[in-house]
Symmetry: C2
Subunit: 289 residues, 2 copies
């Protein structure tokens, strides 16, 4: 078991969070900025790490997230499912052994499906390690690419990624619906009506109804964004098994929408602190080394 | 019944087709250009019509399509379902009575759904009027916004619009999948595997599989476009009733993909000439005046 303080970095596509974690597993300093993978293109990761050590102390660094992708610092590869803390710890890609390492992602490859995650695995295993969720939980991690993960005995045994957030963003920015979708999105009757409608599995047609209802004066454009968000999130949730309680790892705003969608479709969900889960997960991996 | 020759214009969003139709209902001249509604923004429709008359003769003009929308020349409104040839003929928006008119679109408004079409109605009714299809046919009109229309007794009694083509175009141009989707798309085992996969109703997750399969080296990028097209068209087709033979009004290339998708999912389809159907429809409307 690795004693002592270390630095954990959640290095995503857009954002980066640095945590200084002391010998008692407490977070004693945090910073968040937009120096994610995309901002690092052509940049010097080693130099960034040196500057982070200047700010937080000359400690070992363990990184998770897109910095470990083939577009990041170094491709840390993927652990195949089932994957637990020990599997990830054993597969760390070391930039400098014991001092600077990157946690691999997790992959799934069945006869019919392929899937990958990178960064989410630390949250998932951390939520279990910290007792936020039991060892056999069903998780949802909403976002640009929403992950739905099955854990069994504390290991990731299967998962599904849905392009929910990205498809909604495409509709909002580039589609014929874009002029209607600038409004606020929050849980409420309009959002839930979209979710309810999504039960029919006909996302492509339900989306056009957003336009037709405006043309025929049947729905105010101020409601269109919440309704369309309900359609897209509802399409995602309606495709999942809802017979088990779902642990949602998300910021509260997006977490609320997913919880509302799960409840509207007859399931049950609870929202867990995704940042706390990350810290618990990366600490548990580090302590295994 | 209106005798004599006239000019019919299929004035769409992007393209425009002009047909000179003689007193025996024969097309004696055709032109196609890209002077669609979008190209006309700020332009003078009356001047365009004058120039078309210079080229084709000083005949009456009957227009259908997006030139009749609120972003076109004049909003020709919508006939509510059920709508037949006589309904459309009675509701023509006349720029100059008997000389220059625009065919209205068709709208649907039930307790739960709203939908609109503009331009497709002429093809649908023309396919029946010309005997290409029977009076109680189920039609599919693939495109940016794919229309599925029920005709009963020769009238449009219901329809559903799916954003199939637009969603695929968004994915191809703007999504994380864009770099993979530049390849050719044609019917074949790869396209049909995508359609087959779409049966599960999980479009948002199936799309991410396109990326994960590439990351894990399980599908060549040269196959990604055909597979993803199969997923999106399959999601559209799988949401429709396939217990009746479907009449597809389309250009052959897109028509082939839809026919392949319908067949893969257990239905039966035939491809009809959409331009011929338009000519038959607009001629039948004109002769009713």
């Amino acid at each position: 078991m690795t004693q002592g303080a270390f630095l954990a970095i959640d290095w995503g596509t857009t954002n980066r969070r640095v945590y200084r974690i002391d010998a008692t597993d407490e977070v004693v300093a945090t910073e968040r900025d937009d120096r994610g993978m995309l901002a690092m293109e052509g940049g010097d990761y080693a130099d960034e790490i040196a500057r982070i050590r200047e700010r937080h102390g000359d400690l070992s660094v363990l990184i998770a997230g897109m910095a470990g992708s083939n577009r990041g610092w170094r491709d840390a590869g993927y652990c195949p499912c089932p994957a637990g803390l020990a599997d990830l710890a054993a597969a760390i890609a070391w930039i400098e052994p014991g001092r600077t390492g990157i946690v691999p992602g997790v992959s799934l490859a069945t006869d019919t499906r392929a899937d990958v995650m990178r960064g989410e695995e630390v949250q998932l295993l951390g939520a279990v390690a910290s007792g936020m969720a039991g060892p056999d939980a069903l998780f949802c991690q909403p976002g640009t690419h929403c992950k739905w993960a099955d854990l069994t005995g504390g290991r990731i045994t299967g998962f599904t990624t849905a392009m929910t957030g990205e498809v909604f963003a495409l509709l909002r920015r580039h589609s014929i619906l874009a002029p209607q979708l600038g409004g606020a999105i929050a849980d409420g009757p309009v959002f839930r009506a979209g979710v309810e409608r999504a039960r029919d599995g006909d996302l492509l047609a339900n989306l056009f109804d957003v336009r037709a209802s405006a043309v025929l004066g049947r729905r105010a454009d101020s409601d269109a964004a919440a309704y369309a968000s309900g359609l897209v999130i509802g399409a995602d949730v309606a495709a999942r098994p809802l017979d088990r309680k779902i642990a949602i790892l998300a910021d509260p705003e997006l977490g609320d929408l997913y919880r509302a969608a799960v409840e509207t479709l007859g399931g049950e969900a609870t929202i867990l602190d995704s940042h706390g889960a990350f810290v618990a997960g990366i600490t548990a991996i580090w302590r295994q080394l």
